[in-house]
Amino acid sequence: MTARSRWLVLLGICGFAIGIMLNKHTLAWLSLTTLLWIFVEWLRFYWQVWVELPQLRITRLINGQTEATRFLWAGRKVDVSVLITSANATIGGGIKIRECLPENLLVVDGSRQVSLFSRQSSVSFSYQALVRGAGEAVLPGYQVTVEDAQGFFAVDRFIADEKRFRVLPAFAAVNESQPIVKRLNSLPQHGIHRMQRAGLGSELLELREYVPGDPPKSIAWKVSARRQTLMTRQYESEVPVRVMLFVDGSISARIGGFGCRLLDQMIYVTGSVAKSAVSVGDPVGAYFFDERGTKRIAASGGDKGFYRLLEGLSDFAVNPPPPAQRLSPALMAAITRLCGERFPELLDPKVNQVPFTWTPIRPAKRRERYQRSLLAGILAEAYKLSPTQVLELIHDDNMMANYAQRFLADAGISWMDPLVQSRDRGFHDGMATMEFLSKALAESVAHARDNEVYVITANLLECATNISHLLPAVKMALARHHRVVFIVPTPTFRRPSANLQSDQPVTVESLLNQAQDLRTKELTSRLQSALHRVGARVSLSGEEEAIRMVMAETALARNGRVSQAGAR
């Protein structure tokens, strides 16, 4: 019942009473007609809500198919069309149907809702949505608002129609990443690379003086004649190279909206590197590390291996249960909004009864407690809690915060305020990241063969000054003849440039961006100098153009050449 009808009912009752008391027939008649009219509208509304609404049949087409494909691609658009019919032949007027979307989908075209003004046989709407980031996208269902023609009554309902999609990460197709060092004398087998170490390949590495024991057929006779001393041809070795990708999923990498997390940046780079490696025949494996531990995906080649890796990346991109937070008003407001959208029928006080208490006395506090009791009822239903736990939720802030966070995270809310308060976590998170990475590196080295390329994507900028914690693990990997490349995500999603462009006006934002760039550059140079000293390469990810540079870096590491690596 809306405020409109409440006022009219009040006026109707008062008018009718006065009309009867003072013998004013028309006044009583008018008031009674008003009351009857509202009563009839109420009956019609009840019929629509309780009889007609359950008859709705909603069909959703994803990219033109009723059968869900069960996977989507990050960064691509998806076409959704929804057809609404009724088993009752027609759909009553005054209904608004709205598709509830997860944060990972952004409507870029069309409308995700439709309003029916009059009775119709069927209605449809369609929209195009952009998938923001890798992980998971769940389309939970539809929010339906039923309203009578005059706006006297209104009610919200939710029709569940859950479709769960795995979102595979986007990647750049970088094919020309192989540096042209020298024309090939013979094409190596697919998946075999020229390693610039002495071996038994077909490409010449160098000429050196003959040492007793060298095979006579490797003596370069012409050169020996010219130099008057025996010279031996040294050939490159041809080896298979395994690329091992390390992805950091610690708290700091997951904070932010979908598609804007550092993790999304790292996953994009990792996917691109994997694609490039697979295209040249290298087997690719991965280590995913975060607070939960380390997960390993064994190296394998070909498209099958690549898609297995993408699936692994997609699963890893799904945010785990968030770190515990204090119960805040913002968290309560967020959960109230979400419950209003997804469980409106459970917020009805007739269904979700709130126990009467004398305390708290202040009206604002009472309202707060009442709201919290309703939410506790919904959380209890969602997580199948006992009545005792319902009361615990009402009285225990920690428990409420815990379940509220879980509820928001399950609904696909990104790790931003209020789900995860974005206070300055930099240093401590960095230390944790280094610890997880060290463990993952040690585990990987234990499993590895020689000549592996380690591509480590981790948020290490914040701990550039304390990188020494990581160095033992890196040194160990290098000592086993692995190539180690660090790819560090940038918080600004672009490569730092120290100079303010002259054609742009000087604004507060541009100055702040420049300050951020300077800081990033400073941290990068520190990180580079520390890691260069031990023989590892460092590059920055951030924008799509950077991927190509990263690929070149990886290729150099793969063939054993030394180049001037670093931030570009």
């Binding site: 006026l11 009867i20 013998n23 027939h25 007609t33 009059s118 119709q120 023609a149």
Partner: protein, 276 residues
Amino acid sequence: MDSHNKQKLLEGDDEVVWAGFYALMAIVVSVLFFFQFSTGEEVGLSLSFIFLSLVILTLKRWTGAFLIMFSQASLLLMETPNSYQQTTEFGPLWVLLPLGLLLAASRYRLLQERNAIPIAKSVSKLTSIVTDVNVSATVSKNAAAAFWHTLRTGAVIFLCGTAAWFLMLFVPVGKSTVGLSSLREFSLQPSGYRLLMLGLSFFAAYLVIWIFVSWLAWRRITPSQASVFLRSVFVNYYHRDLRMFILKRMKLRKARTRTASPALPLETQTGLPGDI
């Protein structure tokens, strides 16, 4: 004309046009109603202007309750008390016109809120459709259908008015106190007594219908609604005891966590023995 186009003409797609229609309807009804006040006296004239300003206000922002209140106040002041059950020729107009106006204004406001289109634009779009030569044939062909549709929407009010009139027939007549002598003990006037009777009768009728309708509706609740309801009823029954138990346990837990490791995970804190 296929059913889809007909639907479009009726209400369906072009809500802006229909907003214009209802705005016009509200204006026409308010002009009709205006003449009810125009008695030629100064009081009537001032009442008319107050009424018009209320109509304009209602079209701008829903104040339908004020319209009804105004009509009731006018009847209270203008109607002679002796007219009880003596319906004048303007009686039905006094009932149907305010409610018709309320219907049109409410409908207009609802559409206007959805589309956020000014009234002038809605009306001009409606007139452009009506005057357009190309569509006028279609419009004239289906005007009757559209008009009938609108009438059907408003017919509810008429039916309610008729039903109310029938109900009013059952109200005891006049100021007679014959047989009501004992009411003086309660200082109750005969009219007050009638009100009490009517109020109780209507309340009883409403109660029976409400019980039936609520029961029908309740049978259609979803399993999750049923689960939440049962849990909340249980919590309500044992609220005091359970709360005492919970608060005591929370106090114990606090004391225990003070002595135990501060890094105790939350799950182990909440999962104390004794969970029901």
